[in-house]
């Protein structure tokens, strides 16, 4: 999984918004995967030569008003949106997913859980699409367990959007035991090009049996590293 030592190590940018919480954890996961975590500050537009971007979990700007709503107006998001449209792999985890939807980089919206509470459980998931920059290392249909913990994780979209997501095979991860009332049990989706992925569960908290329910989260980074490498050699 780790990069070949002959190649320069992949640089993965991790954004810190005010109120980001999992930025250091994402950095740990990136480093463990053999890549270089590069910290990106919300107020600066520079992407510092990164080859992929991770929008971490947390409560950016307190998640006041709506989760992810305020973060989208940061300088860094202007650059991230441009880079994403240019094909750079971007993943949003939990709050990052909310930011991606609010920014219009992914369709739909994440609303308050049907039961209205924050809920933290290891979530059994099925990998529905391996056709993305962030999930190619998984086996199609694989069942994995990654912690899901949020209050605003219920994915909603109108009927035509849902139909499009299903038709184009853009649902990436589905809950096997829906914890929040998401339509179609959706836990993660991708854009049409497959380079932008949003997911509610936290892969960075499933990289080590010591501190998480599984090591299933490692596949996310393994995927993007091979994506970047294949792009580099192509």
């Amino acid at each position: 999984m780790a990069s070949n030592s002959a190649e320069p190590r992949v640089r993965i940018g991790i954004v810190t918004f005010p109120g980001s919480l999992d930025d250091r954890d994402a950095a740990r996961a990136v480093a463990r995967a053999g890549a270089v975590p590069v910290r990106l500050w919300h107020d600066e537009g520079a992407l510092r030569g990164v080859q992929a971007v991770w929008l971490p979990g947390g409560f950016s700007y307190g998640d006041y008003l709506r989760s992810g709503a305020i973060a989208r107006f940061s300088h860094v998001m202007d650059s991230v949106a441009d880079a994403a449209r240019g094909g750079m792999p971007v993943i949003g985890v939990c709050n990052g997913f909310q930011v991606l939807c609010e920014s219009g980089l992914l369709p739909g919206a994440l609303t308050q859980n049907a039961h209205m509470r924050y809920r933290n459980r290891p979530a059994p998931l099925r990998v529905e699409s391996t056709n993305t920059a962030w999930t190619s290392a998984y086996r199609q249909g694989a069942q994995i367990v990654i912690p899901a913990k949020h209050k605003d994780g219920r994915f909603q979209a109108d009927a035509s959007t849902l139909e499009m997501l299903e038709d184009q095979n853009r649902v990436v991860l589905r809950y096997l035991d829906n914890p929040n009332g998401s339509v179609h049990d959706i836990a993660g989706i991708t854009n049409a090009e497959g380079n932008v992925v949003g997911m509610m569960p936290h892969p960075e908290h499933a990289i080590d049996q010591l501190t998480g329910p599984s090591t299933d989260g490692r596949g996310i980074l393994a995927s993007v590293l091979s994506h970047v490498h294949s792009g580099a050699t192509a």
């Binding site: 700007y61 307190g62 006041y64 008003l65 305020i70 107006f73 940061s74």
Partner: protein, 90 residues
Amino acid sequence: MARVVVDVMLKPDILDPQGEAVKGALPNLGVEGVERVRIGKRIELDFAEGVDAASVEEQARKVADALLANPVIEDFTIASVEADAPAGAS
């Protein structure tokens, strides 16, 4: 159908972190000159056809008092409104 709108706002002296966060974001949108933002709840109660108009407001007040507003930190106002538009339409 009779619609009563209950507006619930934090009392003036209570900290409103939501409002503060939104206010802090406005310069990024290029909006200046906003001195204060307060965020509260708007609750629409739609009563069934038969319920008589006089009792509607009274019932709404009861609901607001007991359930919608937390008297320790919030105040509320009540108003009957026209409800021909579907709920939530702009």
